[in-house]
Amino acid sequence: MPVLRHVFAALFLLVLVPACPARAQGDIVLGMSAAFSGPTRGLGIELYRGAQACFAEVNAAGGVHGRRIVIRALDDRYSPGPAIENTITFAEQGDVFALFGQVGTPTATRVLPLLRRYQGSDLYLLFPLTGAEPLRQPPYARWVFNLRASYAQEARGLVDNFVRQGRTRIAVLHQGDAYGRAGWDGVRKALARFDLTIVAEASHARDTGPEADMGPQVDILARGRPDAVVAVGSSEACAAFIRQARDAGLSVPVAVLSFAGAERLTELLAHAGAAAGRDYTADLALSQAVPSHDDPNLPAAAAYRRAADRFAPPPPPTLVGDGYRPLPYSLAAFEGYLGARLFVEALRHMGPDPHPRLLPEALRALAGQDLGMGEPVAFGPDSNQALTRVHFITVERGRLTPLHDFTRWRK
């Protein structure tokens, strides 16, 4: 009979193994649908590389409870359609532990309903690179965990600072989609607190490149005689706008929301400035939803640089060969690194038998802990957002420099 028992056991195993293939043993797989091509690909690639730097370090040290963490990356070209397709793919594959690092508001907001669709499968979206409000509000907030401060918070920070300096006529340039609208809405609501309204607004297409003509938008905004302009768009669009606004003589400070990668923006402006023989980087205020990797006071920043130096993760394998040159460090990669750190901590908290079902509890358990990010993790019963502070940086002599107040733009 012992033989028979072994046979039964084997049969039982055969039946069970396909049912829960990876969750019992093996790698922890994170599904990442992001822009790995197109104008916004810099953000996706850097976010991926930052996270990979963290996971590479963890995996090199033997993983979490002996399990490696891998990212399965699919390109959505910063478009909602592919983003939804990719998300469904991940959900149907069954071995994806969680969705990680969706880049952009238009993609992330469209993926949200899928989370509800797969609510029985405990599919969670972790640390998307967007500050849009729907990811922080019911009904979808319960399936999403954010790292960064929201666009509303960024906008409020910018508006508060400008108003404080007497700059009350705020104009908005925004991308013509949910992301742009989120930034616009943030500025609008922030201004409303002072009984102010947006004096001029203009939109641009989502895929606007750095060489695009922003003349009409500059004209529209200039007609509103703004004291400051808040730009809600990609680095490329913002660079194009800033270049033409300066060329057109619109010299008011331009604030750019964090989604526009600061390094990419600076690079584009410097490039354009070199070509035109002038400095396009003056009077910029770049708001940041995560702290800077340059901040010497942050332990996490040092850890990031160390990991980045050590592993220098390549772009996702599917995208090799499109000529993208990875940055040594970047704000987006740092954001990816911080998200990965949070996930690793949560995974550790779950113990040897992690399950997506346990994710919310594990992440909330991190609330109040200082993970070296300059502020404690702010997860709470009503908050699915880890960080709340908004940071500002500016460009001085071609370098990104922390901006502590806006007094230079006193009016």
Binding site: E133, P134, A178, Y179, A182, S203
Partner: protein, 981 residues
Amino acid sequence: MKLSRLFKRTLVFMILAFGLLAGATSLYSSYTLRERLTREFESKGLAIAGSIASSSVDLLLSDDAAAIQSVMDQYPGIEGVRYALVASARGEALAHTFVPQVPEAVVAALWDMRMRGGGRLRAPEIHDFDIPGLGPVIHVSYPVLAGEAGSVHIGMDRRIIDTAIRNAIINLQVLTFGVFLLCVVAAYSYTDSISRPLTALAAYARRVRGHDFSDPPDIPARGDEVAEVAEAFRTTAQELAGFIAELERRMGDATAESRDALATVSAILRNMADGLFLAGSHGRVIQANPALGAMLGRPADSLTGLPVATLLGADPARPLLDGTARGERSTAELTVPRVGDAPFPAEISLAALDLGGTRHVVGILRDVTARRQAEQALRDARDALEERVRERTEDLWRANDKLSAEIAERRTAEAALRQAEAKFRGLFENSMEGIFRLDAQGRYVEANPALARIFGHPEPGAFLAALAEDPDATAADPEKEAEFLARLLAGDEVRGFESRARRRDGHEIWISRNARPVRDHTGTPIGHEGFLQDITERKEAESRLMHQAFHDPLTGLPNRTLFLDHLRLAMERARRNPGYLFCVLYMDLDRFKIINDSLGHSIGDELLKHVARQLEASVRAMDTVARFGGDEFAVLLEDFRHPREVVAIAKRILAAVRSPASLGGYDVHTSASIGIVLLTEHYTQADLILRDADTAMYHAKAAGKSRFKVFNRRMHEQAVRQLRLETDLARSVRDKDFTLLFQPMRDVATGALAGFEALVRWNHPERGLLAPAEFIHVAEDTGLIFPLGDWVLDQAGATIGAWEERFGPQAPVCVSVNLSAKQFMQPGLAARVEAVLRRTGIHPPNLCLETSESVLMDHASAAIDMLRQLKAHGVTLAMDDFGTGYSSLSYLRQFPIDALKIDRSFISRCDTDDEARVIVNSILTLAGNLGISAVAEGVDTQAQLETLRRLGCTLAQGYLFSRPLPRAEAEALLHQACGQG
């Protein structure tokens, strides 16, 4: 490739038809597609807007613009959606898909919405915008939560509709063009199958025209119409070839025959004893025969080119030649000069002859010297004979006893007698008149050659033989022949006995005979002698004249004279035979004058001929159809049994005349009116029947034309009454039994007297005062209007003169006098008016002459002349009854009139009838524009006056102010007016 004309025509037709089809289907399908797609897009827009609205309710309520934008971002991907916008309840754009900003049109729409509904959009709305940069869109607005939460706006791209329509039309046209090409190919092959044989036939027909019948085209006998035509043509061509060959042969024969005949005639001419010449219209000889040359003592060929007058002796020949030139045939005797010899008497016959279109003269000259001498000799001999016979007889009686002594003398006398006998014989033989001798029973015993010739016999012997065989051979009228014989046998001398006779060839001729009995010395008739003339030509001329006298030359119908003759005969017949019925139809064309004037007299004449033929065709052979001149016809229907036959014939005539006639390229329509006198038995004069038929005809015309009326008692009585009225009126005009009344004319505004209208009244001995309506038409018809009109003018002039003297010429003494149509158109009117003015010395403008609008317009151009003549004398002119005559404005401008008198029919309704008021107003405006005054006639009520005052009418007359007044009362009014004034 040469295309057949048949195919070209088909091609042109198909191009037109398909072009039309393509245009029509394009228009229609673009219209229906546009309608359908627009509806589709609108409903699609509504559906999309509805879906956005329903999914945005919560988001709008929570003011989450980013989430709304996220919902919306997917829509511009939908085909046809140009943009989407969600506005808050306050109308602010919360999210939209525009780059770089919301266009003005949409901002304006939102602003409008905010203005209209306080921001609330209650129901879906659809607008059409044309947005710069976006193009035309269907803008759909959709409320969210009934507008409480906000609104959704969708722009549907209209250009898609246009593109769809364009594509649909291109597809349709490509398809149509394909079908067109197919049809062209089909039509080409079809027409080719028809036109190819036809072309071959046409070529063959051209050859046939050149008499080439060889090698007929080979048309395959496919059993269709073309093959039938080809076969028929081939057969015809063959028959034609036969005919032509036959014809040519016959022509050859005929030419030979005529050549022979010509040779014969030439021989005759050369050899005849009489001289013959042919002269041209210029009077010069063209040809002459040798006999003529011999006669004139000239060589025959030298005659050619000489004037006939020279040849024949200028003086006697000219009238003769002139006569010939007029186409008469003449025979004369004249003395003809002869070269190298004395002139000689000759008988010449000249006849006109048309040769080659010009008139030629053929003359035959006969030397009658011998005959003259013979005649003279005969005459002398006869005289001598008579003298001698008388003397001889006396001698015989006296010297009976001395007989033997005188035998020698008697022999001599007998010899002379024989000589005379011989001479007489010559005369007998050569006379142009027929001379005959009959035996005591009237049988021909002797005839001269002329007589034989008259009866168509070559010589007297043959004539006498023929008569011997059939004594009645020449008799055409046995009664006359018996009468002639009876008179002869009674021993009378018969002179100029005219009768018909028969020639040998059967022709009838007219002859005139003189005969006297010949008695022996005992007085017993032994026979008769006489002469006979052929008077056929004279008889025919007489008969032609007779016909002309009794027939209408245009239509050939009997004229009035002949008709009356027939009518009298019919009356006579009816009187003798009470059962014999006849009736008279009098017919007049209804529109003849118009047709004559508009289409010309030649068409008018053709129409009359046409009607004449129709009439003849409509009646029976025994009836008489006559034309009385103009467009009047009369028909005498004889021996009918029942009046309904007459009615049937009358209807038949009306129908025949009504049927359009095609004359000179026109379809001429006419109709006729017919008057019928059916009961003819009590008439004693034919004229009266015609008069009554004429009366009935006028009743028919008055009743509406193209109908007939039968004369009845009522018509008769009416005619009698008319006659009576005419008689009375004539007497009254002579006795001046008329009165003038004066109706005042007043200023509408002030009521001041402005003048008078003179109105004539007939003081009828029995019926009292009569208004003009009762007698003016009679006066017009009878011409009494002229003396009456003169009387009125004189009276009016005298009255004005008296009034001017009493009240001064500036007082309102103006008097209007009405002129009737005839009076107005009479040529001497201006002179009469001038005479009145001169005689009375009145201020000319105080005499106002009025004529009705219809008179002026009916004779517009003549009226302009007349009005100008009158105006030249300074009188005032007015147009009466204005508004009834359909005035032509262009004429109205040319009439030098001073006033329009608005017809009373408008005035009487102007206070109650809007239409009449509008007309009065128009007339007043018209008068104002023409710069002349307007007078309202027949103002009877205060309301009418008020209306006129309101419309701005200045002058009026009517019973409201005053009835027509006798002169004394009118004077009182004037006195009053001047007293006040």
